[in-house]
């Protein structure tokens, strides 16, 4: 090692540090430490004159290590790294000593705080002696993105990315894109869900940069930011683009199942079109229920059906992945508020279908077998810890959706008695206008708290017993129909998503963001972005905006065609490695593999995959795995300096 020449720079941070810590004393003390050739204090090290002090010393005093004692590295590490590299030093030859957040901000006694600051500086200097120059790596980045999920958030993201000139692949599990928004009658008083979705889908159809894979699943994701390899399984649709939607096949298909696109309000065949504006606009065969009788194949005049079609595996190379796989509606259990026991108890999603002019009832609100004279919504079904087994969170969209539908109902059937039985009405922001409007339309709002409403199904009809909070009285409401405002659940297959993409979940079961407040569309893993309800309940507009934002972030990451990788990652000392493979097992990012080098088994770190978490270093029994920037020698020196006081080195 060359002679170590360290410069120590103690910042006052105005009075933030200097008000509590005797900065002059700290700087004087630093001069006495081994390897230190210069130590200074200054009012703001991060200011231009402050940085200039450091730069000049590097040049004039031949410094080869720099310690800055100031604030948290989260704030200014990059600032000082840039400064020393401008003076010709490798930017990783910098060590920060945090004497603000870790010292002056949390202590009052000046003497002791000063002593602590001196110790922090001593530790930093001790580590700095062993710092090594490191180089950032650059990898090529593909300008293409995989969008997982073809709901509004995914579609928005895809359109946005195509607009930025990226190649986009939408991977959708079902036979059509559009998601659940396409199934909602009215998403606001003037807008039909199906209309908005069709407009978005039209743009997808016309865009050569976007390729849509329906009936497809992501089964494997390898690689890292800039260079992912996505393996898709394309499940057979059995119907190709020669289909003219004549519908003859549907007539002859003998299999009938509950139609999930109408939330079970009617039945569909095994060969079906999900909804009117489904895309791609061909029939599809539900392989899970098809018995391969061959009737449809026989009747199709256009040779559009091939029952022998098999699943295919496709590999795509993409720079980033946007996860937009949405949510599942809450599934009420049988008997929850009478659900499943009476045809007159339906869910909010079923109601939305009924209100859609394209519905099985052509937009007529027929529940059971007639238009009810009175109808009650029960809110928070499955949400806000209302009933046993309900989720703890608020599902965010159900109050507004229920009120919006109630208004639509009142417009169409002014005589109908409509009740909304709720805990709190969540019409936040400008959606409050809907709540106001509902009041004007004489919709009855009934509030409950802890005691949940009880639904009785009797020969005389349906009754809801509810303890009305505002009058503190038990009341009984006879109604002809009940709508359960069910909330949102994380998608059923979220476990598979986690297994394939290695995202993680919060306690409520939705995917966790890199930072709940300030990085809401990024996953903790670089190159993976999040949009829509996969991170938690949201309404359509919020999901769409997240789609735009996730696309923007992906674009920003990949637009230069290159990605830099922090050099503070794991490195193997091949001499020491015994090839035991413990590190391979513990690495959460699958970045390590065992290779044979001249017949010896040796661990190898894939640099682009390593996130620098340090798990492997801690578990390596032979000390062969080292974390650059946090090597054992560096940390030991720091620890010894902390424990032994002056007599280290």
């Amino acid at each position: 090692m060359d002679e170590v020449r360290i410069g120590v720079y103690v910042c006052h941070c105005g009075f933030n540090i200097a008000g509590v810590v005797d900065v002059k004393k700290v700087a004087e003390y630093a001069k006495t430490l081994p390897g230190v050739v210069v130590a200074r204090d200054y009012v703001f090290m991060c200011s231009e004159p402050g940085q200039d002090l450091i730069k000049e010393d590097i040049k004039n005093q031949n410094l080869n290590r720099v310690v800055v004692a100031s604030c948290s590295p989260a704030l200014h590490e990059i600032t000082f790294r840039t400064a020393i590299s401008e003076a010709g030093l490798n930017k990783y030859l910098l060590e920060m000593a945090n004497i603000r957040e870790h010292c002056s901000w949390v202590h009052h006694e000046k003497e002791k705080a000063t002593e602590k600051a001196m110790e922090i500086v001593r530790m930093a200097v001790a580590k700095a002696r062993y710092l090594e120059p490191l180089e950032e790596l650059e990898v090529e980045a593909k300008k293409s993105v995989l969008v997982l999920g073809g709901g509004v958030a995914g579609i928005r993201a895809a359109l946005e990315l195509a607009n930025y000139g990226f190649d986009v692949y939408i991977v959708e599990k079902s036979p059509t894109i559009g998601g659940k928004a396409a199934l909602i009658g009215y998403i606001d008083p003037k807008t039909k869900g199906a209309e908005v979705v069709s407009k978005m889908v039209e743009k997808i159809r016309d865009c050569p940069k976007i390729q849509v894979f329906t009936s497809a699943e992501l089964v494997q994701l390898t690689g890292s930011a800039g260079n992912y390899v996505a393996k898709l399984r394309l499940n057979p649709r059995f119907v190709n683009s020669r289909c003219t939607r004549c519908g003859e096949c549907e007539e002859v298909c003998p299999i009938e199942v509950s139609n999930e696109y109408n939330f079970g309000l009617d039945k569909r065949k095994a060969i079906f079109i999900p909804f009117k504006n489904a895309y791609p606009p061909y029939y599809a065969i539900d392989y899970r229920v098809c018995v391969k009788c061959g009737e449809c194949e026989k009747v199709c005049r256009y040779k559009a059906i091939n029952l022998k079609e098999e699943a295919k595996i496709v590999e795509l190379r993409v720079g980033a992945v946007i996860i937009a796989t949405g949510y599942d509606p809450y599934r009420p259990f049988k008997g929850e508020y009478g659900y499943g026991l009476s045809p007159n108890v339906i869910t909010l999603f079923q109601l939305e279908r009924l209100l859609d002019p394209e519905s099985p009832t052509k937009g007529e609100l027929i529940v059971g077998n007639k238009v009810p004279k009175s109808l009650a919504f029960i809110q928070c079904v499955g949400s806000r810890g209302t009933t046993l087994g309900a989720k703890s969170y608020c599902s965010r969209m159900c109050c507004t959706t229920a009120i919006n539908s109630a208004i639509k109902i009142k417009e169409k059937y002014p005589e109908m008695n409509v009740y909304i039985i709720y805990k709190d009405i969540m019409t936040y922001g400008s959606d409050e206008s809907l709540y106001e409007e509902a009041g004007k339309k004489l919709i009855n709002f009934i509030k409950f708290e802890e005691k949940i409403p009880k639904v009785t199904i009797s020969p005389e009809g349906l009754f809801i017993d509810v303890f009305e909070y505002t009058i503190q009285q038990e009341i009984r409401i006879p109604v002809e129909a009940i709508v359960l405002s069910i909330g949102m659940l994380p998608p059923r297959d979220i476990e598979e998503l986690i297994a394939v993409t290695r995202v993680s979940c919060g306690g409520e079961g939705f995917v966790r963001e890199a930072h709940l407040k300030l990085a809401p569309v990024e996953a903790p893993t670089k190159g993976i972005f999040l949009a829509g309800c996969i991170t938690g309940p949201k309404n359509i507009l919020e999901s769409i905006r997240m789609g735009s934002a996730a696309a923007a972030k992906a674009m920003s990451l990949l637009s230069k065609g290159k990605i830099t990788i922090e050099p503070m990652i794991a490195q193997v000392d091949e001499e020491r490695c015994s090839g035991c493979g413990i590190c391979v097992a513990v690495c959460p990012y699958s970045a390590i593999s065992i290779k044979s080098v001249n017949g010896d088994r040796i661990a190898k770190v894939e640099k682009a995959l390593c996130m620098g978490c340090g798990t492997c270093n801690a578990s390596c029994p032979s000390g062969a795995m080292q974390h650059l920037g946090f090597k054992d020698v560096q940390l030991l020196a720091q620890t010894v300096a902390a424990l032994r006081g002056e007599s280290y080195g």
Binding site: G385, S430, E432, Y469, K553
Partner: protein
């Protein structure tokens, strides 16, 4: 070359937009009215629902703004006029004098210790404490530069007598400034910018609670707005984080929060401000953390706990911290002459009864109003928020092509939603900027002739 973007407003939304644009290599002009960026978030102590320290998570973003040489900060400035269209806007920015040469000021703060005028209400603490006539907006200000408040400066605005006699007074800051940065002669400047796109991120202000006569804000001493309370609990606040009553400097024993003050009220604003239920919940928890004995009560109409982690946060406030929630509309507040305690008269909707309860501190959860009165040709909604062209198909565009809107000025919202929109708009604006740049390059290559 016209490949730059103007961001108006330096709150968390504007900062995020500027950073995302800068990362793309786009030149950004960030115009901010105040002497520091940060917006409302810089006033907050902690943020719901995680109780993250607001300045700790915001400060790194603010510091990052300084690291990009392609972000040009225009502080103490406002947009005066915009002409032209997408790809080619001409913007006139009025830059007000700071009376300090910011290229020289290093933010040491000596002047703010020496200035003899000590009784200037500190805007950052919303008048709950005083500062000098020359000041740095707050400790983590970015940029961290001094400003003279000319209204109070003895040199710039001397008393009538001195003016008549033609005397020059004071000059203390000039004498003490180690970098000779003080410039009493500084004048307003008008700066003309050419930009390809504009992002509006001017955020919100609190509604003026004095407009609500029955609550007595501005008259009663121990009545605060929620933003004032935010300063009161903050370590950088007027009392270093001690919750003390204005009237006698004592710790309160019973605090009430009153929700929907100016929101959801046909007399003032129809909309729900969306942040205040959770802000009150957060503040009640913070009060309990500071003063474990204090009793906290929230008067509400509906508790709006709609976001990720919000309902769990509310439940925590109830169960773990014993915060009491009473569903009821507060009709009136009265101050007791002797103790300066406050009597809250409310309709307890649980019993349809008018009730009275005494508190020694009351916090008003005040509505927000958008800072949308701007010299920009954008349309507004009936509530005064900047209108979106088509929220479903074009999520962050205003009715004017090339002008985007993000954050609270486009509708009441919290921090994550503001940040999300900012990133979305930044990418859109970047695209316009790049295209406009490419077009100019083509024109130049063609000897100045535009062809397609």
């Amino acid at each position: 070359m016209n490949g730059s973007v103007l961001v108006v407003g330096g709150g968390v939304a504007g900062i995020q937009a500027a950073l995302d644009l800068a990362e793309q290599g786009i030149e950004v002009f960030l115009v901010e009215k105040a002497p520091s960026i940060g917006g409302k978030m810089a006033y907050l102590d902690k943020t719901f629902p995680t109780l993250d320290c607001a300045s700790c998570i915001l400060a790194p973003k603010m510091a990052a703004v300084l690291r990009y040489p392609n972000i040009k900060l225009l502080m103490n400035s406002e947009v005066e006029d915009v002409t032209g269209r997408a790809g080619n806007f001409v913007v006139r920015v009025l830059k007000r004098p700071t009376y300090v040469d910011w290229t020289k000021c290093n933010g040491c703060g000596i002047c703010t210790q020496k200035c003899p005028v000590k009784n200037v209400p500190d805007d950052y603490n919303l008048g709950l404490s005083n500062r000098r006539a020359i000041y740095i907006m707050f400790p983590q200000a970015v940029p961290k530069k001094a400003v003279i408040d000319a209204r109070y400066c003895m040199r710039l605005n001397p008393p009538e007598k001195a003016k008549k006699e033609g005397k020059t007074l004071c000059g203390v800051c000039e004498r003490h400034c180690p970098t000779k940065a003080i410039e009493y002669e500084q004048k307003s400047e008008v700066i003309e910018l050419k930009v390809a796109a504009i992002i509006v991120a001017t955020g919100m202000e609190l509604y003026n609670a004095k407009n609500i006569p029955e609550y007595g804000y501005g008259v009663y001493q121990n009545l605060y707005t929620n933003l004032e309370f935010e300063r009161l609990v903050s370590a950088t606040g007027p009392s270093g984080g001690e919750i003390l009553r204005r009237s006698d400097g004592k710790h309160p024993k019973k605090i009430a929060w009153i929700q929907c003050v100016g929101s959801r009220d046909v007399r003032f604003n129809h909309y729900c401000s969306a942040y205040c239920c959770m802000a009150a919940t957060k503040q009640a928890i913070l009060a309990k953390e500071h003063l474990p004995e204090v009793q906290c009560t929230v008067y509400y109409m509906d508790i709006r706990a709609f976001g990720k982690g919000f309902n769990e946060f509310l439940e925590r406030a109830k169960r773990e911290f014993g915060v009491r929630y009473i569903r009821g509309k507060v009709v009136r507040i009265e101050e007791l002459a002797d103790t300066k305690n406050l009597r809250v008269v409310y309709e307890d909707t649980a019993e349809s009864y008018l009730r009275v309860e005494e508190y020694d501190m009351v916090v008003l959860s005040v509505a927000i109003t958008p800072n949308s009165r701007l010299p920009l040709p954008v349309e507004l909604t009936s509530d005064g928020f900047v209108k979106l062209k088509d929220p479903y198909l074009d999520p962050v565009s205003t009715t004017v092509e090339g002008i985007f809107v993000v954050g609270a000025v486009a509708g009441a919202k919290d921090i994550p939603d503001s940040v999300t929109e900012a990133s979305a708009a930044a990418a859109r604006a970047a695209l316009i900027a790049k295209r406009s740049m490419a077009r100019e390059v083509r024109v130049l290559a063609n000897g100045g002739v535009l062809n397609g």
